[in-house]
């Protein structure tokens, strides 16, 4: 960098202030994570007091049935809501980006709403809706209601990401495919889908993360003893914080880092040829 210092490169004290700022920002981001990881190995019930190194909390996590159930629930809900919202979100993106129809502008604005609405508002809306729906359809709250609400907010994020990708791809590619004897479905399967795949994967990952993270909406619409991991951890904190929470958090941190890594890898490899 310094070898090609141009006129726009900051110099002198200004440069040092900027550097210090960068370090501060990174410290602000990552020190809490470092502390979290360190204290997950601490042999003391009180978080923040170092009591020597131990793997006890990870052992406790592995043997804690409620936590394991909550983790399983989280994964099931995340898998189901991600799958559905990726399909629906991609379809919505295609419709809004590629076709002209009456009320397109309206649907466009409507799709962004869940991104703007505060979680609490969305949660209350969902709860009221499910309460009403339950009167008519007679289902109980739990897996289905949590999954449905996760789908509801994930679709928006998926379609935003996919649309960004679609906007950058040449519409002529589909025409070229159809000119080369592809049916509409084949044009989608062999040309459109592979070119927007990075967007679809990115959107899916976002949906997965949002679902695994959500506390507020899940807490409102849950029922029948259904807990997801974040909601359960939130409950634990109210009873008192132990390094067990740190251990759970570290596991979640590692898992999401791996997910992001995999998604980046998938986007780099991407490809696929007509079968």
């Amino acid at each position: 960098m310094s070898t090609s210092a141009g006129i726009t490169e900051p110099r002198g004290w200004f440069r040092r202030v900027l550097q210090a700022n960068a370090w501060l920002v990174y410290a602000f981001f990552y020190l809490p994570i470092v502390l979290l990881v360190i204290y997950s190995f601490s042999d003391n019930r009180n978080v923040g007091v170092w009591g020597g190194a131990t793997l006890d909390w990870y052992r406790e996590f592995a043997n804690d049935e409620p936590i394991k159930t909550a983790l399983g629930n989280s994964l099931k809900i995340a898998a189901a809501s991600t799958t559905v919202s990726v399909v629906l979100g991609t379809m919505a993106a295609l419709a809004l980006e590629r076709y002209k129809f009456r009320g397109r502008g309206f649907f466009d604005a409507l799709l962004y709403l869940p991104v703007i609405i505060p979680d609490v508002t969305m949660a209350v809306m969902m709860l009221l809706f499910f309460a009403e729906a339950a009167k008519i359809l007679g289902f109980s709250r739990g897996f289905s209601t949590i999954t449905l609400s996760h789908i509801a907010f994930s679709i928006s994020f998926v379609s935003i990401v996919v649309r960004a990708r679609l906007a950058g791809t040449d519409e002529k590619l589909e025409e070229a495919a159809m000119d080369l004897y592809a049916s509409r479905w084949q044009a989608f399967r062999y040309v459109t889908l592979p070119t927007i795949m990075p967007g679809v994967l990115g959107g899916g990952l976002l949906a997965l993360t949002l679902s695994l993270d959500d506390v507020v909406i899940t807490q409102f619409v849950t029922g029948g003893g259904w807990n997801t991991l974040p909601v359960y951890v939130f409950g634990l904190i109210r009873k008192g914080v132990t390094p067990l929470i740190n251990a759970v958090s570290v596991v979640m941190l590692v898992a999401s880092t791996v997910l992001v890594g995999l998604s980046l890898l998938a986007q780099r490899i991407r490809g696929g040829e007509p079968v």
Binding site: L173, M178, D179, L180, Y181, A182, S183, P274
Partner: protein
């Protein structure tokens, strides 16, 4: 176009034999909402013909091509390919393939998979499709690049892939939408020659859309000139250049001087300043016309040196500027109310005219051409 001129004025080439018609458009109109992109055109393209559709952007040439490809459906009219009505058939049901503007190569597929795509979609097995793709890749001189992605190719190479990808399907008509537009001048000229010889070897009709009149003139057997959705004239390069049927065609094809005039009789027109000029024409007396005079067909000399036989087709003028082009000289000659461009061969310096010289210009009776002003 409304009043067909007498036979010796006709610039349209003889109609093609029915059996040899590859593409036949009858009364084709395309509207997008209130906008008429293509207005009631009739057009026949012969089998094995290199046919160009020429016009400024927005003239409807690309829309016409897209209708032949099946990417747009006509609002009205009949569209036949080798006698089969295909008006509303989707593109994958037509025996035509397209080389798109900017090529539209599939970015995620290799050169080989791009080229074999059409065959694979038609159900050819993978090995056979790859074999035939490789043949076409060899034909367009890209052997060794089979496994590259489009992004790893130069513009000229991408152009060749697009060509191979369309030709591998052995289309009955190949459609090309400004295929050379993105290439630089030198490469473009090379590709012009290559396309032309490829077309001759394959014997397939090429329908070529371009806004570049020089490209159209050099490559095509026949050219259709379009303007604002209308088909103005169809003919060979020399028909369009020497016998334009409208002011627009005269102006659009090559350089010309357009001099406004009124028809006096079948042999005489009256210029704006009252000068009578001998100019045979088929229009009724009183018609507002323009006389088209190509810069290279005007002679220039000192006043009083006009040969007697050219007296009825001469005008006095003053040299307003001289442009030296090396192989030629271009004079801007002020004639009373207008300026005319006169192009002559280069001559020794002492014989050149200079700014301010009084001159006379004249032209052969057969060099001028009268077009209606519409």
């Amino acid at each position: 176009m409304t009043n067909p001129p007498p036979t010796d004025w006709t610039a349209t080439s003889p109609p093609v034999d029915d059996a040899a018609i590859a593409v036949n458009l009858t009364g084709i109109t395309k509207r997008f909402g209130d906008v008429t992109a293509v207005n009631d055109i009739d057009l026949q393209i012969a089998d094995g013909e290199f046919f160009a559709m020429l016009g400024p952007s927005g003239c409807g040439k690309t829309t016409t091509l897209r209708m032949i490809a099946g990417l747009e459906f006509p609002t009205e009219g009949s569209l036949q390919i080798f006698g089969v009505e295909v008006g509303t058939q989707p593109p994958n049901k037509r025996p035509v393939n397209t080389v798109f503007q900017n090529y539209a190569l599939f970015p995620h597929l290799t050169v080989r998979d791009n080229v074999s795509f059409g065959l694979r979609m038609q159900g050819t097995n993978k090995r056979e499709a790859a074999r035939r793709a490789d043949e076409l890749i060899e034909l367009v001189q890209l052997s060794g690049m089979e496994k590259r992605k489009p992004a790893q190719l130069s513009g000229g190479q991408q152009q060749r892939v697009a060509l191979a990808r369309a030709l591998v399907n052995e289309p009955q008509v190949l459609l090309l939408d400004e295929p050379l537009g993105a290439l630089d001048l030198k490469l473009r000229q090379e590709m012009q020659t290559e396309l032309k010889s490829l077309q001759r070897d394959l014997g397939v009709s090429f329908v070529f859309v371009t806004h570049d009149q020089e490209e159209a003139l050099t490559m095509s057997d026949r050219i259709a000139v379009m303007h604002e959705g209308n088909l103005l004239q169809v003919g060979r390069a020399e028909d369009l250049y020497e016998r334009p049927e409208s002011r627009f065609v005269a102006d659009f094809i090559g350089q010309t001087n357009l001099i406004d005039a009124t028809v006096a009789d079948a042999d005489m027109i009256v210029l704006t300043n009252g000068t009578k000029v001998k100019a045979p024409n088929p229009h009724p007396a009183g018609t507002s016309v323009a006389m088209s005079l190509r810069p290279e067909s005007i002679e220039i000399g000192r006043p009083g040196t006009v040969p007697t036989e050219y007296e009825p087709t001469s005008l006095p003028g003053v040299v307003k500027s001289v442009t030296y082009l090396g192989h030629a000289l271009v004079y801007d000659v002020g004639v009373d109310w207008i300026d005319l461009e006169v192009r002559t061969e280069n001559v020794p310096a002492e014989q050149r005219f200079t700014v301010g010289d009084d001159v006379a210009i004249w032209w052969d009776r057969h060099a001028d051409w009268v077009v209606p002003n519409e």
